[in-house]
């Protein structure tokens, strides 16, 4: 492991340890936050009782569907939009402002359109995450060296062959920035929807525990969510490294 990597682990461990000490010594009130070790214990308890799986399964299933669809549709949308520079110019401020608006407040609208099932939640996730992919696709294609596009024409590629064989591999790196954000945004959209209205899922369970003053369960669920997102993110980073293996010095 690199020196920076070891230091990173030390820093993270140090932060967790000081949080543990602060909580245990009473610097942080136990009713405000429970120590990290307790959070792990809470996760273990939740797992043993089967509640963890029950609460988190719908959320992670929906997030996965939303994330995959957002990436696919986002790449297609970004590629199409890039070929329409006039439309893109006009849409630019919208693409930039998009995240600022809590569109998940339109959840009731989605319920009317898609019915009372998982799809309103998934759609919120797709809509929220897809734009990050569109933006990173656009940025990526902007930076493809023009000479590679000329090469595509020398090989007499069709439009789809050009996208598949040249543009997608060439934008893989900037695209991954968007893909990682898409994971975050599909979680934000779906958790927000669950906080607001849903009757299941980990967001609902966190809100329920909060309202019931069940600190231990609440922290267990929050910690579990954060750990899982971090693990998923690290998985994406590993994919990124694998994909880019050998490409840079």
């Amino acid at each position: 492991m690199t020196r920076a990597g070891s230091v990173r682990i030390l820093v993270a461990a140090g932060l967790l340890l000081s949080l543990e000490i602060c909580c245990r010594s009473g610097i942080i009130n136990m009713t405000t936050m429970i120590p990290p070790s307790e959070m792990l214990g809470a996760i273990a308890d939740l797992a043993r009782s089967g509640r963890l799986l029950k609460e988190s399964l719908p959320t992670f299933r929906n997030v996965t569907i939303a994330f995959v669809l957002a990436v696919g549709l986002g790449v297609i949308g970004g590629t199409v939009l890039h070929s329409l520079p006039r439309v893109r110019r006009v849409l630019d401020p919208l693409l930039a402002s998009y995240y600022a608006v809590p569109f998940f407040a339109l959840y009731p609208l989605f319920v009317v359109i898609f019915g009372l099932n998982d799809w309103p939640l998934i759609m919120i996730g797709i809509v929220f995450a897809g734009v990050a992919v569109v933006v990173s696709t656009l940025n990526g294609i902007d930076r493809v060296p023009p000479v590679l596009l000329k090469v595509a024409r020398i090989y007499r590629m069709s439009r789809t062959a050009k996208v598949r064989l040249v543009i997608l591999p060439a934008i893989a790196l900037p695209l991954f920035t968007g893909i990682k954000l898409a994971l975050a945004y599909s979680f934000i959209g779906i958790l927000a929807g669950e906080f607001i209205l849903a009757s299941a899922g980990i967001g609902h369970a966190i809100a329920f525990a909060y309202d019931a003053f069940d600190n231990r369960t609440m922290y267990g669920l929050i910690a579990f969510t954060l750990i899982l997102v971090t693990l998923m993110n690290m998985g994406l980073q590993a994919c990124e490294r694998l994909l880019l293996k050998g490409r840079s010095r």
Partner: protein, 254 residues
């Protein structure tokens, strides 16, 4: 010749913009006609309600509360983010240690943290400010750090050859090199801080636009939801367009 062609380009862009607005309104109207009053109000109704709502004394304190919280959160995001980013950028090793951690924090769904923020700060201004800053500070820091890392080392060597003092070096070489990227970070930070503040208001406050929004959701006040989203969308898009224009201008100059 130059002026007239530039004017043609500008008027065409205005035309395109008008067309976009028309398309959005048409789509909105069509959606309204399909789903009806239970889910969304029509553009005309919404606009009318917005004009009625915005100056009313019921609404103004909430607007003021949101702007206060947003201003404070933005200040913290910007100051903290730039400071952290510059430090990590100039101190290479710290940057190397911190970058993946910042990246991981950037992609955490911070919305899940709202109960914790509530526990720590209680209902009120500090909770929303904390929530906004939590969202904004990381992208600002990441962009600032990468701005510093992207300084062309040849330019720094040129500064040494020209025997510039460190103040002159910062003024003539470092600042022009990093400012455009930092401004991009500030632009992204602006949007995310706004989102953070609004989420904070929705779940951890009893004042502000976010609070009105969650209240309207709970009361199923469709007119209010649509109008608030419309107003927020307008505000975010106009400010983004301005920031984007500044951003573009700075990037062209480099």
């Amino acid at each position: 010749m130059t002026q007239s062609t530039a004017a043609v380009g500008k008027s065409r862009r205005l035309q395109d913009f008008a067309l976009l607005v028309a398309c959005i309104l048409a789509a909105w109207q069509a959606l309204y006609m399909i789903v009806g009053d239970v889910a969304i109000t029509s553009p005309v109704t919404t606009l009318g309600y917005a004009i009625e709502l915005l100056p009313s004394s019921d609404f103004r304190p909430h607007l003021a509360a949101s702007l206060t919280a947003f201003g404070n959160a933005l200040l913290i995001s910007y100051a903290g983010g730039v400071l952290l980013g510059l430090t990590l950028g100039f101190h290479r090793f710290s940057g190397e240690v911190a970058e993946p951690m910042l990246g991981a924090l950037y992609s955490l769904p911070k919305i899940a943290l709202y109960p914790i923020i509530l526990q720590i700060f209680g209902l009120g201004l500090s909770a929303k400010v904390a929530f906004g800053a939590l969202h904004g500070v990381i992208p600002v820091a990441l962009f600032s750090m990468n701005a510093v890392r992207g300084i062309n080392p040849m330019h720094l060597r040129t500064a040494r050859v020209l025997r510039l003092s460190s103040i002159e070096t910062v003024r003539t070489i470092v600042a022009p090199a990093i400012i455009p990227e930092i401004v991009t970070g500030l632009r992204v930070g602006f949007s995310l801080t706004l989102l953070g503040v609004l989420i904070g208001e929705m779940f951890a406050s009893q004042h502000g636009m976010g609070f009105l929004l969650i209240n309207a959701i709970n009361l199923h006040d469709v007119k209010m939801i649509t109008t608030l989203i419309f107003v927020l969308f307008l505000f975010a898009t106009v400010t983004s367009a301005i920031l984007l224009a500044i951003d573009r201008r700075l990037h062209v100059r480099v």
